[in-house]
């Protein structure tokens, strides 16, 4: 049993049920209290009030009738058209009188009979007939008034007289016999000046209608005049004398409790303010008590009914509310010894909360990593559709669904803080409509910012702000910007554009923003001029003219400084220039040993900027111009084709083979791959792969310019399995996509044709 109660106490259902039932019990208790304390009094008051209202209505209607009757009598008495006459003398006037009385008959239509009798005349007149007074007295028989008394009242009109209701028999009256209240009024303003008497007879039905109402209580209603009951409506068998003897005086409504026949009664008395009338209702007290009890029982049953329904609803609600709690409790890890479902939930939630906090922390920590992955995946073009990109970004809290985007590369500093800028904070957040995400690219020692924006200008502006901030903070900045893109599928291209621009930091003015858009797209536009300037240096060398040489070197360097070219183009140009100068002048001058030092791969690879080239070129030229003429044979011997040259030749023949790889070449020449690469790079100053790419790109350029083959066909023709790899390599190498290259060539051709 103890365990049962313990289980019950720990049940969510029991708790809910108990709570609801408790609330219900309080409400019901209040209702019961109200019933017991107020209903009894209110029912009694309402019952008495309804009877008083009824009495008031009866009084109003009855006195309205009396007033109408009195006014009719006064008006007829004062009317000049109604003058006394004797029928026998002036029967014609009787006819006229009937016409005069007709309107009053309408006014007093509630009366069953209306008669006029002039003083001194023996006739009575109604609106429709006339009859002798004697005949009237014979034909109209009152139950309690003798003909003589009636005649006396008619003959000697005093004040208004009300004869209590009594049976009146007459053939003149419809139905022959009925209860009537008779009112005799002087015909004129007063008894003294009256011309006769008016007789108004009101049938019992008039009062029956008056007494009729919706109150169903059994009661007696009396209209009392001058200490006598004028008319009554009786349901209760109580003698009139009891009423009259217990009627207390007073000018305003009052109710008296009287006792008769051992029973308690309520006597409601409403005295008239204008007439000597009392309107009285007799009620059985027990009826009111019974009515009160009925009301209380009804109210109690109603409340009990509400209580039962409420209890069922409470249990239903408790069950409904407890069920999910029980289910939740069962889902949560329940610790042993915890019996209470709420405690179980509490403990479970705490545990889950702790786990969740841990999870959130871990998730938050991994968020930058995920964002980094996203940016990398985005740049690799791994998403199939724009919606996928947006959804993936949104999952990481990145809002990228904007029309424009670009990639900014910001070179890392060698010293100090190498964290990428937080573009969500000032001053970067002042550029509206942009969302940027930064990652570190350790391979190229740069921070990459993937910028999404509503406008192109905002992206450029952000890149400029990064450049400005970097300059201010570190005194130097390398910031490269790709073209502004719209299609997310072009993300790899955008990266290559940014990387190309970033690579040009050595050959371009990196005090400004390195924008891919400003890089020259074709080496062919630069190389002829560079060769002409190299030829000028060659001539100066041949003439051994120092001044001229310096000027020609300046010319070349100035040209290069003012030409936006890719690093690759820069390398080809200076390689071409060095190669040309050495081949020409190493044979001529016997300084080959020192001059050839410039063919050292490390020397050449250290030339990464125009300033480096300036120094290298001037040292080389100085070596050549100052060196004695040497034996050319040494160099000739050097020109014997090496294995690398054979490899290069092999590659020139087979570059279109997509199966051609460095490992395949190494195998063909029976050399380890690594050794081949090193030897190749030593001799050719570029890796075998770069050489292969160069061959393929150069061939593709020819095909692009000379044929109408598609990009895909050309890619296959020059040894690429898929067009996208070709496009990326082509752009990396030339700074332009194949299509852009083809268009530029077409425009160039058109220009030549026009000229």
């Amino acid at each position: 049993m103890k365990q049962y109660f313990r289980r019950l106490r720990s049940s969510a259902f029991a708790r809910f049920a108990l709570s609801y039932v408790l609330i219900l019990a309080i409400v019901l208790a209040c209702m019961f209290a109200y019933i017991f304390f107020y209903v009894e009094r209110e029912v009694k008051e309402n019952t008495l009030n309804s009877h008083v209202n009824r009495l008031s209505r009866i009084a109003y209607q009855h006195e309205d009738y009396l007033t109408t009757i009195l006014n009719s009598a006064v008006q007829m008495g004062l009317s000049p058209d109604i003058q006394p006459f004797e029928f026998d003398q002036s029967p014609q006037k009787a006819y006229e009188l009937l016409q005069q009385m007709a309107p009053y008959a309408v006014t007093n239509s509630f009366c069953d009979q209306m008669f006029l009798c002039f003083a001194g005349d023996d006739y009575l007149y109604s609106p429709s007939s006339s009859l002798p007074l004697e005949m009237f007295l014979n034909l109209v028989r009152y139950e309690h008034v003798s003909p003589e008394e009636l005649q006396a009242m008619i003959r000697a009109p005093g004040a208004m007289t009300l004869l209590p209701a009594q049976r009146v028999e007459s053939t003149l009256i419809d139905g022959n016999a009925t209860d009537m209240v008779t009112i005799l009024a002087p015909l004129g303003a007063s008894a003294a000046s009256s011309k006769g008497t008016m007789i108004f007879m009101l049938g019992e039905h008039v009062y029956r209608t008056m007494f009729a109402d919706a109150i169903e209580d059994i009661n007696n209603t009396y209209i009392i005049h001058n200490g006598k009951v004028l008319i009554s409506s009786t349901d209760l068998d109580v003698p009139q004398e009891v009423i009259l003897s217990n009627l207390s005086a007073g000018s305003a409504y009052h109710s008296d409790a009287i006792t008769w026949n051992g029973e308690k009664w309520y006597l409601l008395n409403l005295p008239s303010s204008t007439w000597d009338l009392n309107y009285v209702t007799l009620l059985r007290a027990s009826a009111i008590i019974q009515s009160t009890r009925r009301s209380m029982v009804s109210a109690t049953l109603l409340v009990a009914g509400i209580g039962i329904v409420g209890l069922l609803v409470a249990l239903l609600l408790a069950r409904r509310n407890a069920r999910p709690i029980r289910e939740i409790a069962s889902m949560l890890p329940c610790k042993e010894g915890v019996m209470d479902e709420f405690s179980s939930i509490q403990t479970g939630i705490r545990e889950l909360s702790a786990r969740n906090t841990d999870l959130i922390t871990r998730l938050e920590r991994s968020l930058p990593m995920q964002r980094h992955d996203f940016v990398v995946q985005f740049m690799k073009g791994r998403y199939q559709a724009r919606e996928d990109v947006v959804a993936a970004a949104a999952a990481l809290g990145m809002s990228i669904d904007r029309p424009y985007y670009a990639i900014i590369l910001h070179g890392m500093q060698t010293q100090g803080d190498n964290q990428p800028f937080d573009l969500r904070k000032p001053p970067f957040d002042g550029i509206p409509g942009t969302a940027a995400f930064g990652v570190e690219l350790m391979a190229i020692k740069a921070h990459l910012y993937l910028v999404f924006s509503d406008t192109r200008e905002a992206i450029v502006r952000l890149a400029e702000v990064i450049h400005q901030q970097s300059t201010e903070r570190y005194g130097h900045a390398v910031v490269a910007l790709s073209d502004v893109q719209t299609d997310f599928a072009d993300a790899p291209s955008a990266y290559l554009e940014a990387a190309t621009a970033f690579d040009n930091r050595f050959v371009m003015d990196d005090s400004q923003l390195l924008s891919y858009a400003s890089i020259s797209t074709s080496i062919e536009d630069i190389l002829p001029q560079a060769r002409r300037l190299t030829d000028a240096i060659d001539q100066a060398l041949s003439l051994r003219d120092h001044a001229r040489l310096s000027g020609r070197i300046d010319d070349l360097l100035n040209f290069l400084r003012h030409t936006n070219m890719s690093a690759f183009a820069f390398r080809l140009i200076y390689n071409d220039a060095i190669d040309k100068l050495l081949r020409r002048h190493a044979v001529t001058y016997a300084s080959g040993q020192s001059v050839m030092a410039y063919y050292d791969i490390f020397t050449l690879s250290s030339c990464q900027s125009i300033d480096d080239l300036d120094q290298l070129l001037r040292r080389l030229c100085a070596s050549i111009i100052d060196a004695p003429v040497a034996d050319a044979t040494a160099l000739v011997a050097e020109e014997t084709p090496s294995v690398i040259s054979q490899v290069a030749d092999y590659m020139r023949v087979h570059f279109a083979d997509p199966e051609l790889s460095i490992s395949a070449i190494a195998e063909a020449f029976e050399m380890p791959t690594a050794r081949l690469s090193l030897a190749f790079k030593d001799e050719m100053h570029m890796s075998p792969l770069e050489y292969l790419t160069l061959l393929r790109v150069e061939r593709s350029k020819e095909l692009l310019a000379a044929t109408e083959m598609s990009i895909k066909e050309i890619a296959a023709e020059v040894g690429y399995y898929d067009a996208s790899s070709f496009i990326r390599r082509f752009k990396q190498m030339t700074g332009a996509t194949p299509l852009q290259y083809r268009r530029s060539k077409e425009e160039s051709n058109d220009a030549h044709a026009d000229s």
Partner: protein, 519 residues
């Protein structure tokens, strides 16, 4: 879920029922219960709720038509009709009483023209209507019938007949007078001969009321060939409309009345007394001569009634006796308002009351206790309640009834008191003392336009006042050339010619229509 299934099943079942109901034949629709509202005319002395009446419960069982009655007393009837149409809140039907079909049907189009429905939906009524010429009274001025007629034809041709105290005549050894002079002498003998034998000179030879054709002094003018009635116009034998006070014998009639008053041969109180007082006075046994509807089953006790006998109207020298004639007139039975959306059902309910047995039950009470079918196939009254008890059982004259004379005679054996009245009527008809065509043709048979009716009402009120005042004056003070000339002039000034002309025009239209119908 289970409850939902139950609900769904119930809905499907209900839908099927509704579909079946909609596919049911037309007959089923006729039996569809219908509830109608009706404004029901009620006599002043009736205290019956028509909705609770046994007769209508049975009718509802028979027709499947339930009627919610709005009972309206006679005194309120016209007002209630006006209010109802003014308020635009009509009941479906209007039953009995009277109705200005010219105004509400022709002018305001608030009543349903019924002609096209009668043959199909009221076969009982249609058959009887087609078989009687009085049916031509029903169509309004636009030719449409806006109401179902009420016709109770009992071969009664006269309102008040003349009765003379036979025992007094015998006592005084007098014969029934046939001329105005003989009547004067008889009345004088009654006054002076103490025929009631009480030793008092309390006899009132001629007891009358004033302005009616039952007990009123209007009947006096029949002696001078004037069928004086409450409308003061009558149709002369030559088809022209005559205005009674302008007739040659009218002055002589007035002068004779003055003679009666002067010589106390007539109760002077006749100018003011009503029918109740008249009855009370006659019952005192002081009257020797009067006009009245009949003797049995009236206010007169049987022993008193037995003293009297019916006599033909007397005639003045040079004049034929001409008393007003009652004719079968079709009264207002029922109308349907335009609000009624169940016209066939309404007419079916009305026609069910026209079934012979149902109709006679509605007049006389239920079969068995109060009505029976005798061996010759006619219905016969078994018991007539003395008081108004009958009205609490059946609608009597407040119900629907259409019985032309020939048909009524074929199916119904009249009660003895009604036979008495028929006997007197035949007696007067045979003696040719009645006007040829009843003045009631002018008021019941002839459709008047609304403006004509309004003008006639206006003129009638003024003319009646002038005539009645003059009568009282002449009876009291006598007649002089000047006073009579002034009287005649006053009638002309009021518009007696116009009054007569309106009736003449309407009567001419009526005759033309009758001719067209005959062709």
């Amino acid at each position: 879920m289970r409850q939902m299934k139950r609900l769904f099943k119930a809905s499907v079942l209900l839908l099927c029922c509704l579909l079946l109901a909609s596919c049911a034949p037309q007959k089923a629709q006729e039996n569809t219960p219908v509830t109608l509202t009706a404004l029901q005319y009620e006599l002043e002395n009736q205290v019956i709720n028509f909705s609770d009446m046994w007769f209508y419960d049975q009718l509802e069982d028979e027709t499947n038509v339930h009627v919610d009655f709005v009972d309206v007393k006679d005194a309120d009837w016209v007002t209630r009709i006006s209010l109802m149409f003014a308020s635009r809140n009509y009941t479906d039907m209007i039953l009995r009483g009277s109705l200005d079909t010219e105004e509400y049907g022709v002018a305001q189009h608030l009543l349903v023209p019924l002609d096209e429905y009668l043959e199909e939906h009221m076969p009982n009524y249609f058959e009887r209507l087609s078989a009687t010429p009085v049916g031509s009274m029903i169509p309004s001025s636009d030719g449409n019938s806006y109401y179902i007629g009420f016709l109770l034809s009992q071969n009664i041709t006269t309102d008040g007949h003349f009765f003379i105290n036979r025992s007094w005549l015998d006592k005084l050894n007098l014969s029934v007078p046939t001329t105005i002079d003989e009547l004067t002498e008889v009345l004088r003998a009654f006054r002076d001969g103490d025929p009631n034998g009480n030793g008092l000179k309390d006899e009132i030879p001629y007891q009358a009321t004033f302005d009616d054709n039952n007990t009123g002094i209007y009947n006096v003018f029949s002696a001078w060939g004037i069928p004086m009635n409450i409308d003061y116009v009558f149709i002369h034998d030559d088809g022209s409309i005559h205005f009674a006070p302008e007739e040659d014998g009218f002055r002589q009639g007035v002068e004779w009345l003055h003679l009666l008053c002067r010589e106390k041969l007539l109760d002077m109180a006749c100018i003011t007394q009503g029918s109740n007082l008249w009855g009370a006075k006659v019952n005192e046994g002081t009257a020797g001569y009067f006009s009245y509807w009949r003797l049995s089953n009236t206010v007169l006790p049987a022993e008193l009634a037995a003293q009297f006998e019916c006599m033909l109207p007397v005639a003045a020298q040079g004049y034929p006796a001409r008393l007003t004639r009652l004719s079968d007139v079709v009264e207002f039975g029922a109308s349907l308002t335009v609000q009624n959306k169940n016209i066939p059902a309404s007419l079916r309910w009305l026609d069910a009351q026209m079934d012979t047995e149902t109709m006679l039950v509605s007049q006389n009470g239920p079969m068995g206790d109060m009505l029976s079918l005798n061996d010759d196939g006619r219905y016969e009254v078994v018991y007539v309640p003395e008081t108004n008890e009958l009205y609490s059982i059946v609608p009597v004259i407040c119900g629907q009834f259409f019985a032309p004379a020939e048909y009524y005679e074929r199916v119904y054996v009249p009660a003895p008191h009604r036979e008495e009245k028929t006997r007197y009527s035949k007696m007067y008809d045979a003696a040719d003392v009645l006007e040829k065509e009843s003045y009631r043709t002018l008021t019941y048979a002839m459709p008047m336009t609304s403006s004509e009716s309004a003008r006639l009402l206006q003129l009638h009120t003024q003319l009646k006042t002038a005539i009645d005042r003059a009568l009282v004056d002449f009876m009291t003070n006598g007649v002089t050339d000047e006073s009579y000339a002034a009287f005649e002039q006053s009638l002309k000034d009021i518009g007696s010619e116009e009054y007569k002309a309106i009736y003449q025009a309407a009567y001419d239209r009526y005759l033309t229509r009758q001719e067209v119908a005959a062709q």
